[in-house]
Symmetry: C2
Subunit: 216 residues, 2 copies
């Protein structure tokens, strides 16, 4: 299969959200036009994205929803179980554990760790918060391949080092700081302040219209 660009890889989960929704409502086929409307994307873009993995669409009928779900899950490697570990059992960590129910796609948070003795042993749904000293052993035992970091910025690098040492292959970092990891570790940043700050940029035009009417 051709190498898929990062932009496409990031769109695939969005397609999956919409397709799962259609599937739940017993809708069996969907056109690129419909998908485009739902996602605010150009239908030509969608057709191009989906053409990466072969021809699924049939002219005048559209895409088979179940088949497309299966294919995207397969491409995203969601057709086999993926274990996730999380460090930082604060509000954000707890919120993410609650997402477990959305993660039908064989991807589950299997273990939660925290450095603070007062939190260790407490429950988050069916998970018991574990001590950092047990991280390496648990990562190996549970075959955890993705580590999520939801600790304060100053503690994040240390947690990343521990995850790498324990053998995870990818990190999703929510701490608002840049982390150094070895070349072979994939790291994604999910810092919400970044989303918020880039959103501010797009307010510019409206703001100017409101606050500075052209007077000359």
């Amino acid at each position: 299969m051709k190498k898929i660009s990062e932009a496409v890889v990031r769109r695939l989960p969005i397609y999956l959200v919409v397709l799962n929704d259609l599937h739940k409502r017993d809708i069996q086929t969907v056109s690129s036009q419909d998908l485009g409307n739902k996602l605010d994307l150009n239908p030509a873009q969608i057709r191009k994205d989906l053409a990466y993995f072969g021809e699924f669409g049939r002219k005048g009928i559209g895409y088979d929803v179940s088949y497309l779900i299966e294919k995207i899950r397969q491409i995203l490697k969601l057709d086999q179980p993926l274990s996730v570990g999380l460090v930082g059992a604060g509000n954000l960590g707890r919120a993410l554990c609650n997402y477990n129910t959305y993660l039908k796609d064989n991807m589950k948070i299997m273990a939660v760790f925290d450095a603070h003795p007062s939190v260790v042993g407490t429950q988050i749904n069916s998970l018991t918060v574990q001590a950092m000293d047990d991280l390496k052993e648990k990562v190996e035992e549970l075959h955890i391949v993705i580590g999520i970091i939801t600790v304060p910025a100053v503690e994040a690098q240390n947690v990343a080092d521990r995850f790498v040492d324990a053998g995870v292959k990818a990190i999703l970092n929510f701490a608002p700081t840049i982390l150094r990891v070895p070349e072979h570790i994939r790291i994604h940043y999910a810092d919400f302040t970044r989303e918020l700050l880039s959103l501010a940029y797009y307010l510019e035009k409206n703001e100017e219209e409101d606050d500075e009417p052209a007077v000359d």
Copy 2:
């Protein structure tokens, strides 16, 4: 000023995180090479990004950290106060309110709302959770321009409609669902499952190396 591409706008907050860190450590100049190392980005890409808003770098000296911070804040419209409102005072909502301390850049969550009577009136740091019935009035009173949605997927569209009706200009949605908003409203998705799912794709190569040694 030239129109800045979305990819660049999304990188600017990342530059800001690093630059703020350098500034805190009293470092006054930085080269594109240094920035590139810290961010795992190509220095040529960084020079190109920063060249969008005029020439700040000086050969052999690099970029003036303070000036760059000021300029990026200005471009991202962070040099003037921006009020944010949030609906959904669950774990995620509470976690985001705790980020308020990171949001030095004049952007602050000013009000939190929730539909559940048992949550209304409770405190999150200095904020008191308010009833949905007060949303419109408060959005106007506090000049809230950005709405954050941290409610379950099934409630998200209704909350988006309320925000739009109240007059916000942009929405940051954390619910794992696609929302319909009018053309003039900017919407960003910060659904963490999406980050996690796209991360899975990049595990493919390693997994195959581990699990399927070439035998023929």
